[in-house]
């Protein structure tokens, strides 16, 4: 079964223009498993496992990995571009409008409100990391990483590298 690139472009464009934040992963399941039957449940689980090993946002990784299975490297680029292009263009237009009305208090306030939403969404993603199974050292690692990046402005590779070493050493122990 060879899925036309145009169909991938169209479906991902639709998700790019209508998908918001947390719901993306569910959209990809619906698209690939329920709607088109491109993948079965087992294959989708494998897509998830692959997506979580790569850097980048998990939901968009799932989408890109599905496209790779269907159409290889061209599929991956098509998927990525279709996911980010609609929102980017929309927000560039919004940004230009904002420049014109930047002294409107209502607009400035709305943007400050969006910053609150951004903060909340990031904190929400922290709560999905299985905190209930953590012990003291886990919390210490988290606190250390946060302070090293936020206050000490340490380079990210250093924080990730030392964090990985500590994490691996205690698994061994």
């Amino acid at each position: 079964m060879r899925v036309p690139l145009a169909l991938i472009l169209w479906e991902y464009f639709l998700i790019g223009i209508t998908g918001f934040g947390g719901g993306l992963q569910g959209r990809f399941y619906h698209l690939a498993v329920s709607k088109h039957g491109w993948l079965n449940d087992e294959e989708f689980a494998e897509v998830n496992a692959t997506a979580s090993l790569a850097p980048g946002g998990n939901a968009s990784n799932v989408g890109i990995e599905i496209a790779r299975r269907l159409r290889g490297v061209p599929g991956m680029w098509a998927a990525y571009i279709c996911l980010i292009l609609p929102g980017s263009l929309l927000m560039l237009a919004a940004g230009a409008t904002y420049e014109v009305y930047r002294d409107e208090p209502v607009l400035r306030g709305a943007l400050q409100g969006l910053q609150c939403a951004a903060t909340a969404l990031i904190l929400y993603s922290v709560t999905k990391l299985n905190l209930s199974r953590w012990n003291g050292l886990d919390y210490l690692l988290a606190l250390g990483a946060c302070l090293a990046i936020y206050l000490l402005k340490a380079p990210l590779w250093l924080v990730l590298g030392s964090g990985a070493l500590v994490g691996l050493a205690r698994r061994r122990a």
């Binding site: 719901g23 790569a54 850097p55 980048g56 929102g87 980017s88 927000m91 560039l92 209502v106 969006l114």
Partner: protein, 173 residues
Amino acid sequence: MSQEFTLFLDVFTAGALSFGGLAAVLSSLQNSLVGQHQLTSAEDFSRTYSLAVGAPGPNAIFLSLLGYRVAGPRGAALAALAWALPTLLMLYLVGRTGSAQAPDWMKATRKALVPVTAGLLAAGALSTARSFVMPTPQWLLSLTALLILLKRPKWNPFWVVAGCALVGALAIR
């Protein structure tokens, strides 16, 4: 070194280390793009991120918007490319052989990094909150939004985002 090259390099590095998604490298990106290389202001950085949160599609839209602020359409394309390259490369390598064939150290490291990721995400939340104009009320709004996300996981997060923007438009000056 030209601005565009610095932008590409900073975003590429962050992209290659973005285990846990964009929010996990947000604070580090701010350190390099704003603090170290002064390609944009801290205010612009968090405003652009909140625009991306209000946009449809994945958060990676943030990078094309930020690239546009730094160096116009070319900057947008460069930043989007720099962000995608490491992710697509890893997905290609892992996906082709299947995640079961991925080396054990890779999976072990990924697991060991979970607490560090949580700390990095917390730093990301502090970064978006850095430019609150009314810190106490805005933190209250953020925590209220977080509570809604936790208590009503079935609701589309879009409504939480829209609600925050509305409260901001009416009350934040």
